[in-house]
Symmetry: C2
Subunit: 407 residues, 2 copies
């Protein structure tokens, strides 16, 4: 260990690989400049990556007066990852390549209340079918990412799935997965600080600080849905009052719409009368379609929700000093066009550190399948670019020390 330039990653190999991914196309000299490593080091590391098939030389840059730079690029089809999203009512499977691009995708009805072992067998079969559909060899698949709204409830499930599929399984929550997906597929800069505001059935946020995912000690960071936006607001299931989710979440929007007879009829809401598997998601979609068709009451409901969400987003941006906010998740996939301008305006107007930098707000290009793609991206990140786990610093440092006699 020596020299001034040090690296945040576990290994230089991972650092260089991540740079190649983030840059898209980059030369060895570019890597030297970006890493602070010397040419010699880059040379050997790149040779190793080429030997493994992860990186390929793809052409030349124009000469700047001497030898032309050889351009490097990720070999997108060298490895694959499976992403699985467990929704209330559906299970979505995607197979992505190294670049995070979807090469196969299937979606099946949720498990309902089947026995766990039956669900595992079924999922293993469907993952197998997904892989076979594009004929990828099993040993080129890095692993399986499994995301859900409450991943901490699926610990055992993950282990069983690991045995059933023979693939390493990593768990995460939908919002964090979506954030990593955005980060991996290059929508935001390599070291940027951003959040993926996730609108599904609830409201959540995945947080990436300076290029590193932040999950929090309980794995529950980014819980913006229970930020208070009205101290005297309605009671929320979390025990508090005036939570963002209770006032502006898709559930709240749907409840308000159902209370409106005319709107219920015009939008064709199912909830309350039928036993649809995903009443909230289905009705939220119906309301969004009605708004797009020009239904003023539907639009008003969504805009009200957007105004609340905007102040929640501002709080999030203020606390984390965000540079970018990406709107993603199934509900933004449907209604993002209503929310985007409202959130953008709020952050342009009232982000507290706007004298230092602005907050760029954008809609994810793949908001609907973001969780599943993100699940796959987590696998790519954890297998290819393992961050330093860092020094183990037990909270009670003196725990293993015998009693002390001072001299």
């Amino acid at each position: 260990m020596s020299g001034p330039a040090r690296v945040t990653h576990a290994s230089t190999r991972a650092a260089v690989l991540d740079l190649v991914r983030a840059a898209g196309v980059i030369s060895r000299v570019g890597l030297v400049n970006a890493t602070g490593l010397t040419g010699g080091t880059i040379s050997t590391v790149v040779r190793g990556l080429i030997d493994e098939g992860l990186v390929a030389e793809t052409g030349h840059a124009e000469s700047t007066g001497g030898k032309r730079r050889v351009m490097l690029q990720l070999n997108h089809f060298a490895r694959y990852a499976v992403g699985v999203h467990l929704d209330e009512a559906r299970i979505t499977y995607v197979l992505t390549n190294l670049g995070g691009a979807v090469v196969a995708r299937i979606s099946r009805a949720g498990s309902g209340d089947s026995e766990v072992s039956a669900v595992i067998t079924r999922m293993a079969r469907e993952v197998g079918a997904l892989i076979d559909s594009v004929g990828v060899e099993r040993d080129r698949i890095l692993g399986l990412g499994l995301v859900s709204a409450r991943p901490w409830e699926h610990g055992d499930f993950g282990q069983m799935l690991e045995r059933a599929t023979g693939l390493p399984v990593v768990l995460d929550n939908d919002a964090t997965a979506a954030a990593i997906g955005e980060h991996w597929s290059g929508g935001v800069g390599a070291t940027s600080t951003f959040a993926a505001l996730y609108l599904g059935a609830g409201i959540g946020a995945g947080v990436v600080l300076g290029g590193t995912t932040y999950r929090g000690p309980g794995g529950r960071a980014g819980e913006i849905g229970h930020a208070c936006v009205d101290v005297d607001g309605p009671e929320c299931r979390c025990g508090a009052r005036g939570c963002l989710e209770a006032l502006a979440g898709p559930g709240a929007v749907v409840a308000q719409a159902r209370a409106d007879r005319a709107l219920s009829r015009a939008a064709g809401l199912v909830g309350g009368r039928t036993r649809a598997a995903t009443p909230v998601a289905a009705d939220f979609a119906a309301i969004s379609r009605a708004a797009r068709r020009g239904n003023a009451r539907a639009l008003a409901l969504l805009e009200r929700s957007a105004r609340y969400l905007a102040v929640g987003a501002r709080t999030l941006a203020n606390v984390l000093d965000l540079e970018v906010l990406v709107l993603t998740g199934p509900s933004f996939a449907i209604a993002g066009s209503v929310y985007l301008p409202v959130l953008r305006a709020e952050l342009d107007r009232a982000f507290i550190a706007r004298d230092a930098h602005s907050v760029s707000v954008r809609l994810s290009p793949s908001a609907a399948s973001a969780p599943a793609i993100g699940a796959a991206a987590i696998v790519l990140q954890s297998e290819l670019v393992p961050r330093q786990t860092g020094l183990r610093l037990p909270d009670d440092l003196a725990a293993d020390e015998p009693p002390i006699f001072v001299r």
Copy 2:
């Protein structure tokens, strides 16, 4: 460089030093367990630290069947740091030792609107007096930490002060400094995720995530004062409505008190009638004293502020998944006993991840001088335990690449 155990710090030396500091008393074997390094490495690193005078052997542990462990401890008086807090009206100087303990402290009236060069000369003189008062040699002083509410306005000032005092100067904001001070003096665990909620003239928070200070890309993270707690609330100077600071900050409390004739008289408020240098701080203190004397109206005002602050604190804890929240800053030093139970109750009741872990809320034992002590702690941290700056990952990676010809 080899082996599995890697370290988050710039050097193993810094990692070990930080562990010794965090543990208080620890043996070489304890360091081996905590770091994952081998005994040989720890042996050489510790020898180096002892040679530098930073660490000392202080006794023995009881034998566990073999040779007794030699206990190590930070040599608290090996180095010192100066902390300076620029308030609206006062300049507070502290000199601390390596443990963050204050060995000298002076406080002088603020600079008012004197010329910058005069202020610099004066501060350099006062820093000199501080150091001379305890007779510490100049070369044992690591540097000077300068904190204020808006440090980004003092960039040039810091450089000038560096020249005038001959000490390295680091700048930071009051809330972050307070958080680092808490971290350094060992009130919270070494890897804990916590925030220092800072109540001065405004409301801020210093954020430490997993033992590492988080400042944000604009250096403005933790701006909880402009979290929205009421979408239809009063307008705030930041351009938004219903900000925590506008509803519950010391300024708001004082404004409400001044509007109450009887309370103004009972508490002896100065604002409005005199031109005190710190009308808000002075009047907030007067209100707190009145509340402590049993004035129901004063107490009601503070409790109303506390309820708002509690929901703001809950939002902060939810977003960051906090383990600990420390209340600090001059205003909490005076009124902390009113706020503490309200915040504690709110987080016990409605922290969203309370099934995973609770949030411990406590009052800083040195809330009043927290910024100045924190300023010194920043110096200690930046000089003794420099964290890895990490890989330089320019946002536009391809910026320096010439145009590409694909083969």
